[in-house]
């Protein structure tokens, strides 16, 4: 047994009792686990109950960590609710399923055994989802069976007597629609009732163990499931269940999106439209932000007395941070698009379309979803690789995820493309040269990811090909509120990074450019401390077509990719003190020729300039070996790629 077993047999009464409920101490609060099959609506319910904003989307495997929130019950009491990764069974083949099992068995440090379970199932897929009831009932905890989207079951001509179903399993039941919030109060009431009742089984010390069908192999696996299904069938028959009819909308849309010709075509058209939108739709917004930043800079500069502080503020901070902020609209357009894909249910279809390629590479189709989410950011993508059951496939997925073009690369790409690629129409107004270049950079990243995975699966991570079973969720109209909240959250993250990392870098760079003083004045930039340091590394990057200023940008972008934009903004801001507005593109053209610009783009496609990614890799692989290998491999590829690009152009 596990070394944390004592936590599992801790008397429940020592932590919770109906009378001595102390809301201020979390350890005394009721602990309720939210569990269910993937994509059944747990996190949506969790957010409704706790007021938190954990990520939800319409595909299986969004939640890969446990999240704890507080549910406010009546009479000022609170309970703790844990949202868990979805599971279909308890053999815990994948890392996210292990998290769920550990929490239910009370092995998670600092948590103890839950006092109650809220089991959320999707009523439109009832029979399969109920396979989970029997192992949950074995825990012997007060359980509420939540029939989510039961309204949809009825809308699709299904039928169910909830009360009889509950009696069959010996649990309470309730209907919800977690998205609209209907029925959520009943869940709150259930939690409160568990707190009120001094139910005898909670006063008895106990240890929990979920039946792990592969660990206890007395029965063949298939018999275990056959037995479970017989129980479910008996229960649903008693409850006069009739299944939901097929969702006509979903089947009609699938006949388009998964069509042999139309499917891939739709995918390409969608992608092209987004890349074009990033350049055309975002422009007015970006111009607006640029105007505000430049205007506020001038306004401030005119009102502050001439001093080192004014120089730092205007030439260093305003120019540095401002040049990155301009890219917020483009990032938001990307996230809006990704959000629509995720919430509509299209993402899972994209995974099916790409699965053949994944098969040739040697990866599970499941690995495609983390890779798609890496278009937003590699960090959550690496975490969501936990849903990939095979350890070798999981490592390969994590290793190649940073090649997918994350949103932090977008400001760098957009800046260089706008500066060096003249806009011409390729396919009328639908696709211009700039959008096509951007699309090309995204493709280059994807090709690098796929080829690296192919290489890994034939060398370090050799393993057999596994089958692919993937649930396709029904299509849903994305909720405007969810999309809006996501954009708000994303803006917040972007602004926080600009306010912390980029601000700090801007100040440090500004200071380095002020010394050594020449006659009490700042030195010419080439002779400054920054210039001298930069010139030390120049020989290493000169073959790529970069001078020392770009080199400083590269070094600072090791913290995070978009920092290079801020760095260049600060350097040019100090260099051109008489220029109050940000003329980053014009200044860049002095330092880079087309070959150098393309080389810089290629460098950013391949290099792993992100400390957060390195840190999360270390955590997920439990060591430095993989992140070190990943960093060196990507750096080598970036250097060689940039060198070749600079030579060719």
């Amino acid at each position: 047994m596990s070394t944390t077993a004592p936590a599992g047999i801790e008397p429940a009464a020592s932590r919770v009792s109906g009378n001595s409920f102390k809301p201020e101490d979390p350890a005394n609060q009721l602990l309720v686990a939210l569990i269910g099959p993937p994509n059944s609506g747990k996190t949506t319910l969790f957010n409704k109950l706790t007021g938190l904003r954990q990520k939800v989307a319409n595909y299986p495997g969004v939640t890969v960590e446990k999240h704890i929130g507080t549910v406010r019950l009546t009479d000022r009491r609170d309970a703790r609710l844990i949202d868990l990764p979805g599971v279909s069974g308890f053999s815990a083949r994948s890392a996210d399923e292990r998290i769920t099992r550990d929490v239910l068995e009370g092995r998670t440090e600092g948590l103890g055994v839950p006092d109650a379970v809220v089991l959320v199932v999707d009523a439109t897929r009832l029979e399969t989802q109920l396979l989970l009831v029997e192992p949950i009932m074995e825990l012997g905890l007060p359980t509420l069976l939540v029939l989510n989207v039961a309204d949809e079951l009825e809308a699709r001509n299904g039928r169910l007597d909830d009360e009889v179903l509950g009696q069959q399993f010996g649990v309470q039941t309730t209907r919800t629609n977690a998205r609209s919030g209907r029925g959520v109060d009943a869940v709150r009431d259930f939690i409160a009732s568990v707190g009120d009742s001094g139910s005898p089984d909670r006063l008895v010390p106990r240890s929990l163990e979920l039946r792990n069908v592969t660990r206890r192999s007395s029965l063949p696996l298939i018999d275990v499931f056959a037995a479970r299904r017989r129980i479910v069938q008996k229960a649903v028959a008693a409850a006069r269940y009739s299944a939901a009819g097929p969702s006509h909308l979903t089947e009609r849309l699938d006949s388009i999106f998964l069509h042999r010709v139309l499917g891939p075509l739709c995918f390409i058209v969608l992608a092209v439209l987004v890349f074009q939108a990033i350049f055309t739709l975002a422009v007015p917004l970006m111009d607006g932000i640029e105007l505000v930043i430049a205007g506020s800079g001038e306004w401030l500069a005119a009102r502050l007395p001439a001093s080192w502080f004014r120089d730092l503020l205007i030439d260093g901070v305003w120019a540095g941070v401002g040049s990155v902020l301009v890219f917020l609209p483009q990032i938001l357009i990307l996230f809006l698009f990704l959000g629509i894909l995720e919430d509509s249910g299209y993402m899972a279809r994209a995974a099916v379309i790409a699965d053949r390629m994944m098969y040739r590479v040697g990866l599970q189709g499941r690995a495609f979803l983390p890779l798609l989410s890496a278009y937003a950011c590699a960090v959550p993508a690496i975490l969501s690789a936990r849903t990939v059951a095979d350890e070798r496939d999981r490592f390969a997925t994590m290793f190649v995820a940073p090649f997918m073009t994350c949103s932090a690369r977008l400001p760098v790409y957009a800046l260089l493309i706008a500066a060096f690629i003249p806009e011409k129409q390729i396919l009328g107004p639908v696709l211009g040269t700039r959008a096509a270049t951007l699309l090309g950079l995204y493709l280059l990243g994807a090709v690098a990811a796929v080829s690296t995975a192919f290489l890994l699966k034939r060398t370090l991570l050799r393993g057999k090909r596994s089958g692919f079973v993937m649930e396709l969720p029904p299509y849903r109209i994305p909720s405007l509120r969810t999309l809006g909240l996501r954009l708000v959250d994303r803006s917040r993250i972007f602004l926080r990074r600009a306010g912390r990392i980029i601000l700090t870098v801007a100040i440090v760079l500004w200071v380095l450019m002020q010394f050594p003083r020449v006659g009490g004045e700042p030195p010419p930039i080439d002779d400054s401390a920054l210039g001298r340091t930069g010139q030390l590394i120049e020989p290493a990057i000169a073959p790529l077509g970069f001078n020392w200023k770009i080199g400083v940008g590269l070094v600072s972008s090791l913290a995070a990719r978009e920092v290079i934009v801020g760095t260049l903004g600060t350097i040019y801001g100090v260099e051109d003190t008489d220029e109050t507005s940000i003329q980053l593109q014009a200044a860049l053209k002095r330092d880079l020729d087309l070959g150098g610009a393309v080389a810089l783009l290629v460098f950013f496609v391949f290099a792993l300039q992100c400390m957060s990614t390195v840190a999360v890799m270390r955590r997920e692989t439990a060591g430095w070996k993989w992140p070190a290998l990943q960093f060196s491999y990507m750096l080598a590829l970036a250097y060689v790629g940039a060198f070749i690009a600079n030579r060719l152009i």
């Binding site: 069974g89 439109t124 592969t214 696996l221 298939i222 299904r229 042999r260 379309i353 649930e471």
Partner: protein, 99 residues
């Protein structure tokens, strides 16, 4: 003679007439069939079993993905199966009228 893997298989139902048994990949689209047997080693069964694909269940192939992998309806949910995997599912026809 006999496939060594069949040791691990389960014939939960009485053996159907051989003429009606075929692979899922051979079933015409939109025909409902009953799963009879899964020709896979037992350690590869679980992802299917957990999603309700076990002998006795009803399957209905709805369409093929661009790469030729079947999308199958099982108890109200849609599952995408690789065609290699679908080829391991032995099914019986004539359970329900085609719809």
């Amino acid at each position: 003679m006999e496939d060594p893997r069949s040791q691990t298989l389960l014939n939960e139902l009485p053996e159907p007439a051989p003429t009606t048994e075929l692979r899922l990949t051979e079933v015409p689209l939109r025909e409902v069939v009953e799963l009879v047997r899964i020709d896979l080693p037992s350690d590869e069964l679980e992802p299917l079993l957990e999603r309700g694909v076990l002998p006795g269940c009803l399957l209905c192939p709805l369409l093929y993905s661009p790469a030729g992998d079947p999308i199958v309806r099982v108890d109200g949910s849609l599952l995408a199966l690789r065609r290699e995997l679908a080829g391991c599912l032995c099914v019986r026809r004539g359970v329900l009228p085609v719809h």
